[in-house]
């Protein structure tokens, strides 16, 4: 339990992180659906201090999203049922992507769709309109809040693999599959994504949950169930990352309840190459920058030269490994 006694370095620690052939200036990205398309938060957050921005899921056509109520606070977390409200890929490539191109940070375009073809068409349209800092795509097969939002892919290993293989043909940029935690084990999904040529997986999207208005005896979300996010799900997310890490060598993007640099370090140690900050942005729009700065301080205090030294550094005793933990 004692703090590392390594020498405290005066050299700035190196935060650069890598997935495939893409280098991020630090391992802290902001999560899809929690940072808009960048413009919304720029008055509150110095975007260029982020490792990257994952944009709100876009589909082929614009979507207005679900009827209110869309959010409910829960203990140390929140439920949402936004329903993939988005401007559609045409507006995305015409307005949002060019705007994002101005910032010195990496952009990952998150895509949600209801068929193989739609996923491919959206990806290809973005690919045709790619800007220089577009690092790649995150494929949302895990939104619990729309009935045609991909979760039918996300809960089937076969369809996940097929979709990954299909999209792999359309881009040389990063192809990241964002998995749902709402399955018995994420291990076969991680393996399927690796087989089909994905560059990474993201874990986790939100956990299915609900809340009840006890006075009206109605669900508090218009769609009955929604997705839980925030600190409440952090232990669950870490276990999912661990499950995937044991089963596959594919790079992992850790997500779920990250508020502080210490939270981020947990995800890195368990095996994430980079992490994403989601719900925390709603509380502090500069949450990602806070995490990145905190990470730098942590590395300095612990005498760690490169953030990559943390990645996948979890020590698990041999007898536990042998016993299957």
């Amino acid at each position: 339990m004692s703090q590392s006694s390594k020498n405290i370095s005066t050299v700035a620690p190196d935060l650069r992180s890598r997935i495939g052939n893409v280098e991020f200036k630090n391992p802290v990205l902001v999560a899809s659906g929690t940072f808009g398309y960048g413009a919304e938060a720029k008055d509150y957050c110095d975007i260029e201090q982020l490792g990257g921005i994952v944009t709100k899921s876009v589909s082929w056509k614009p979507r207005v999203g679900n009827h209110p109520h869309r959010i409910v606070e829960t203990p140390s977390g929140m439920l949402n049922s936004i329903g993939l409200a988005n401007v559609g890929v045409h507006t995305f490539v015409k307005e949002k992507l060019p705007y994002l191109a101005k910032f010195d940070t990496k952009i990952i375009a998150n895509i949600a769709a209801s068929s193989m073809e739609e996923y491919r068409d959206v990806l290809e349209l973005i690919e045709q309109n790619a800007v220089e800092n577009l690092a790649g795509y995150e494929i949302n097969v895990s939104c619990p809040n729309v009935k045609d939002g991909g979760l039918s892919f996300g809960t089937s290993v076969e369809r996940t693999e097929e979709l990954t293989a299909l999209l792999r043909q359309s881009t040389d940029r990063l192809l990241i599959i964002k998995l749902t935690p709402n399955v018995t084990s994420v291990a076969p999904f991680a393996q399927a994504c690796e087989r089909a040529g994905a560059d990474a997986i993201s874990l986790i999207n939100t956990v299915v949950g609900m809340a009840v208005d006890i006075y009206n005896r109605e669900p508090r979300l218009s769609t009955v169930t929604g997705g839980v996010s925030g600190p409440a799900v952090k232990p669950i997310a870490l276990a999912k990352v661990y499950d995937a890490r044991k089963a596959s060598a594919i790079p992992i993007i850790g997500i779920g309840g990250i508020i502080t640099a210490e939270d981020a370090v947990e995800f890195l140690i368990v095996g994430s190459s980079v992490i994403q900050v989601g719900t925390a942005n709603f509380v502090h729009p500069d949450a990602g920058v806070r995490v990145a700065k905190g990470l730098e301080e942590f590395l300095r205090a612990q005498g760690i030269a490169h953030v990559t030294e943390l990645v996948n550094s979890l020590k698990v005793r041999a007898e536990l490994k042998a016993a299957g933990w």
Partner: protein, 265 residues
């Protein structure tokens, strides 16, 4: 504005309890104090350093004075209960000002009629100040459950009403206003409305009936207050955005006040 100064820890300099569970908190925040226009709000953490409750709560800016701003809080749930127990000297984490001001420049009215229900008074002090300083006549119809619940500072030309008859007109401020509109005693009015949903709905109907402009300041549940969560929409009928024929507008970004006729309430 730089990213740093739009969210700040602000020391509470004064706490006043108007009635049980109705409290004003004044805090040092030059940015909010100097840039807020009537109708804007701030998003405040219930308790600094705690993850539960996690989300900020929105409050209209009630007053500004030098480098200090003030909010008025009605305790009605977990977050507001905690906030009303904030003590002088404590820190508030304040994000803002957010949202858009009341539209006082629409030019389609001569008299501003402020229609207030309960803690809907929160944005009305600054609105009064703005209107008075531009020499716009103001009439204020302010209803509360009981006379102890009025926060009258900085209001003008008051017509009070209470549910229990303890002060002013015994009944709703809608009924009181209706009688005056019927008399035609208010010259070319525009309604500026904030209060409980039922009152807002009635105000919308009243405005339609008398064909007068009406602006509603709406409240919805908010996570971020700045347009990144998409959590706070109201339903409008003003545009066919896609096949559903419905359009949602974000209260935090496009509101909180909206022209009443377009809002499905």
């Amino acid at each position: 504005m730089t990213p740093e100064d739009s969210q700040m820890l602000s020391r509470v300099t004064r706490r006043r309890e108007i009635a049980p569970g109705l409290v004003t908190l004044r805090f040092l925040n030059p940015k909010v104090a100097h840039t807020t226009v009537a109708g804007q709000f701030v998003n405040v953490l219930p308790k600094v350093g705690f993850l539960d409750p996690m989300l900020r709560r929105p409050f209209s800016v009630y007053n500004i004075d030098g480098d200090e701003a003030e909010i008025i809080i009605q305790a009605h749930g977990r977050g507001t209960n905690i906030l009303t127990e904030t003590r002088e000297g404590d820190m508030l984490d304040v994000l803002g000002p957010l949202g858009n001001p009341w539209n006082t420049a629409s030019g389609d009215f001569k008299t501003a009629v402020l229609l207030i229900g309960g803690v809907g008074v929160a944005s009305m002090q600054l609105l009064t100040r703005t209107l008075v300083s531009s020499d716009v006549p103001v009439q204020t119809f302010y209803g509360a459950r009981s006379k102890t619940l009025f926060a009258l500072d900085g209001l003008t030309n008051l017509h009070l009403s209470t549910d229990d008859g303890s002060e002013g007109f015994h009944g709703s401020n809608i009924a009181l206003l209706r009688s005056q509109l019927e008399e035609g005693s208010i010259a070319s009015p525009k309604l500026f409305v904030c209060g409980p949903t039922g009152m807002m709905r009635a105000a919308k109907a009243l405005a339609a009936e008398f064909k007068i402009p009406c602006e509603l300041s709406l409240e919805t549940e908010m996570a971020c207050g700045i347009g990144i969560c998409q959590g706070c929409p109201v339903v409008t009928d003003d545009e066919t955005f896609n096949t559903t024929g419905k359009r949602f507008r974000l209260v935090c970004m496009e509101g909180p006040s909206f022209a009443a006729e377009r809002i499905v309430i």
